[in-house]
């Protein structure tokens, strides 16, 4: 494999750090400040996109920044897996930036400078994870994401927000320090290196028991992948403003988790080693529990964002399931699901935020008839739901197809059943939302309901809406789409379909990874 030495991955990371500085400097001029965010997101994507052709040609880009200690480098490596994650995340940052501006200004949120600067910093760290060349660099950026997103989760500074943010940091930081770091220590002790290498670095480097322990520690330590029982932080993080939930808690943060797990499986252990340790099937069954249980919990949630959060937990395990089944199809399915789920789930979160901003509704039960007033939003929601369920030609179908093929190749009928059951559950918790929006009469004017709405909103979205001048009892007639928010979500919905019809880019990269 040809290696090109270039500092482009460093530029891709640094560009949003530069944006942080500019955002803070221009804090008194909101329009200038927001233009830095947009500009940085576009340049960042351009830098990353410029590396795509190189990677598609089967080359990889490497760059060593500094050797901290012998064997401990800050080093970047751009390969197919990294570019797949980085290009998805950085592209969605552009749309999220536009959406954020709409959301934050509509709600007249406080501390917008802090919000935009930490958002940019989180994106720098996310791309850092995508382009890390060894486990140490990755761990650094992994922790940086946790710390940079904390102010975003705690944004509202209400007691609930701080409580949620605390749960968030306790799970993420706690698991990563307690388990992931010990796994890193053990890996270094056994292998003498932490570099990501195509067939793994641990083969023959320790007893089966040691290697199995390392694997389990990694799985437990990467709490960002939200495998049960380390999933509670994700629903807790839903106190964050919706754009944060959309980009960070449906794409950047959680995908960092599964991305790290894929790195560990493919580049620390290597497929053969995982297979020899008999971890493949056991792991697949273990994450299947998460797929089913999270979907069942999602069914019970009336709060829209909570339902989406549990859906995310379930979908993330698809990716890990695909990787662990270890057949060519399942691995491709798992990997492309990183992108497919990203586009669809961000659409759903965008819709949730759009509904909240335009209509001040947070609960599924309040959405009756909303499709008439917010047709774009609800249509996008419907399309993204189809993708989540896996209906062709939406993107989710591609992943499900490959995963299903993979489970047949692996002769794992129970896994196939898990996929089927989960598809039914997906349909069961997503389709009623669209049904309500388009086919039910609006329940405006009923006193009891109205009272309930008030209570729910106070509970789940905190005080932010209390001072925005609109109040809670916004009249049904006055609800209308907010353009700055509707445009991004329609775009992501369209892309969810387009990458279902033309999945070549992601499939090529996925096949490159497992080659």
């Amino acid at each position: 494999m040809e290696i090109i030495h270039s500092a482009r991955p460093l530029y891709a990371i640094a560009i949003s750090l530069l944006a942080v500085v500019l955002i803070v400097i221009s804090r008194r001029h909101p329009n200038l400040r927001e233009s830095w965010t947009i500009l940085a997101s576009i340049i960042k994507f351009a830098v990353i996109a410029s590396m795509i052709p190189v990677i598609l040609n089967g080359k990889i880009i490497e760059y060593t920044l500094i050797t901290i200690l012998p064997g401990l480098d800050i080093k970047f490596r751009v390969d197919a897996l990294g570019i797949l994650f980085a290009s998805t995340a950085s592209f969605l940052w552009i749309l999220t930036s536009i959406y954020s501006i709409g959301y934050m200004r509509k709600l007249k949120e406080h501390a917008q400078t802090r919000y935009f600067s930490y958002f940019a910093a989180s994106m720098a760290a996310t791309i850092g994870v995508a382009f890390s060349a060894n486990m140490f660099t990755l761990f650094f950026f992994y922790e940086a994401i946790t710390l940079c997103t904390f102010p975003l989760v705690a944004h509202k500074e209400t007691p609930e927000a701080i409580k949620g943010a605390r749960t968030y940091i306790v799970y993420l930081l706690g698991a990563s320090v307690a388990f992931q770091l010990s796994a890193i220590f053990l890996t270094y002790y056994a292998a003498g290196t932490l570099d990501f290498t195509t067939h793994g670095i641990l083969t023959g480097k320790g007893s089966d028991i040691l290697l199995t322990v390392i694997f389990i520690l990694f799985m437990a330590g990467i709490a960002k992948a939200a495998i049960m029982p380390f999933h509670n932080w994700l629903p807790a993080a839903m106190v964050a403003p919706t754009p944060v939930s959309a980009l960070l808690h449906a794409v950047a943060v959680v995908k960092t988790g599964v991305f790290t797990i894929l790195r560990v499986i493919f580049f620390i252990f290597g497929i053969d080693l995982i297979h020899n340790l008999n971890l493949s099937t056991a792991g697949a069954y273990f994450v299947s529990i998460t797929i089913i249980v999270a979907s069942l919990i999602a069914l019970t949630k009336d709060n829209l964002k909570a339902r989406l959060a549990y859906s995310t937990i379930s979908q993330l395990s698809y990716i890990i399931l695909g990787a662990l089944l270890m057949t060519p199809s399942s691995m491709v399915g798992g990997i492309v699901h990183i992108a497919n789920h990203a586009f669809s789930k961000i659409t759903l979160f965008f819709c949730a935020g759009s509904i909240y901003c335009a209509a001040h509704k947070t609960e599924v039960s309040q959405l009756s008839g909303l499709g008439r007033k917010m047709p774009w939003t609800m249509a996008a929601f419907f399309i993204a739901s189809l993708s989540m369920i896996g209906v062709p030609p939406a993107a989710g179908f591609i992943s499900k197809w490959y995963l299903a093929m993979g489970s047949i190749e692996a002769k794992e009928v129970p896994i196939l059943i898990v996929l089927l059951v989960s598809t039914i559950l997906n349909a069961a918790y997503f389709l009623p939302i669209s049904y309500k929006a388009f086919f039910e009469e609006p329940n405006e004017g009923r006193d009891v309901e109205g009272h309930n709405i008030l209570l729910h909103e106070n509970h789940s979205e905190g005080h932010s809406s209390a001072h925005d001048g609109h109040g809670h009892e916004i009249e049904f007639k006055k609800i209308k789409e907010i353009p700055l928010m509707a445009i991004p979500l329609v775009l992501t919905a369209i892309i969810s379909i387009v990458i279902g019809i033309y999945p070549d880019y992601f499939l090529t990269l996925a096949k490159e990874i497992i080659r």
Binding site: I68, L69, F136, I162, L173, G174, S182, Y189
Partner: protein
Amino acid sequence: MNIAGHLPILVIIIPLISAVFIPLLGRINRSAVCYFVLSVTFLSFLISISLLSMVMTSGRISYRLGGWEPPWGIEYVVDYLSGFVLTVVSFISFIVSIYSKRSVEKEIDGSKIPAFYCIYMLFITGLMGIVITGDIFNLYVFIEISALSAYVLIAMGKKKAALLASYNYLILGTIAATFILLGIGHLYMATGSLNMADLSKRLPALYGSHVVRTAFVFFTIGLSLKMALYPLHIWLPDAHSTAPSVISALLAAAALKVGAYALLRVVFTVFTVDFVQNVVPATKVFLVLAVLAIIAGSVLTIAQTNIKRMLAYSSIGQMGYIILGAAIMNPIAMTGSLIHILNHALMKSTLFLVAGSILYKTGIEDISGLKGMGKRMPYTMAAFTIGALSMIGAPLTVGFVSKWYLAIGALRANMWYIIPVILLSSLLTAVYCWRIIETIYFHKAPEDESMMTYNGHSTVVNDAPAGMTVPTLVLASLCIVLGFAAFIPVTVVTSAANMLLGAN
């Protein structure tokens, strides 16, 4: 012999003589005292650096006081270890001296300032003397110089409690000193020598002797008390938290480190690896004590509500790290232990200086009083955040480097059970540090019109003066720079670790 040959004595004699001149200078011009102290500590730092670089190029430096041959006369020794610790101590004293001007003006009565700085210089002299001397009785003398001056400095704290803390420390410090002196007496009785290098040659033949073993016990107990090794830490929280801010920083960042240095010196240079491993089960005892210190220290820290007290308690666990690395007994863990001398000095002095700035500006001592402080003192709080992250051991900070070496060293020694201890303590550290970070940045400041509300909502930035903020930020940025460029101190420390363990 040119001047370079006399550097080992100059690094001691300059601060010692300057201490005498400070009260005189104070009579002429009180405000000049601080600048004088500043230049003296800077000079000491320069000399330490050049001594260290001389050691790096040409090896161990031995200096004969008055030209007497070593086993009879007093010898000063600069090797990798003492050069390294000397540099750390003199650097921290220099930075703290910059900071001290404004802080001391606020915390010490004007008339007492010259006296304060006089004792301050004696204190630093004592610490550097402990590090540089190669004579075990001379070591005792310097321990007493530094300890006696520490009692005085602590007693200069503003609160009444400082007197009590100083008195308690005096009692326990005197017991410790007595133990050390008894240890010296026993060794002298057995060997007739006081020179460390000479002792280490004569002792192996006498390892069977009860006198030598008793001496070892006296030494370890005395020095453990000096470095506040759990459970001999009880004097530390009061002393460190009631002392004036600059003294707290110096006690935690320099005095404790020098105590640890003295213990390592006696255990590994006067006695040997062979003795502590095979003759007496010392390493096992140290290992258990270190683990206890790390866990108990962290738990006790969580219970604190006073900022300085919390920082003081956290030193107990951190000293445990230093002993842990030494007790694992391999070069990697020893490197972790020695590098932690530097790393903990940097982060703890950062944190104590931050506490001092808060005290200077607001008089707040309790953690709960820090609400909304992130907006009022942004630079100071940024320094605190860096120091706290470093304490937790976030990657690319100095704290991570120590933990990395300790963990890998423990694994190489097949002591996997050390890993959970290190990580548990990181988590406990995260609990007490994060609690403060959260209070600083995310809890709303109380509506107190006198200090912050302006136009109803915007908050006035009111950071500590530059003379205090800049040194704090320098230390904080070093926590990151040396976390990035960790290979620089590690090269020095690796040689020191190999030397202690007799590997080279």
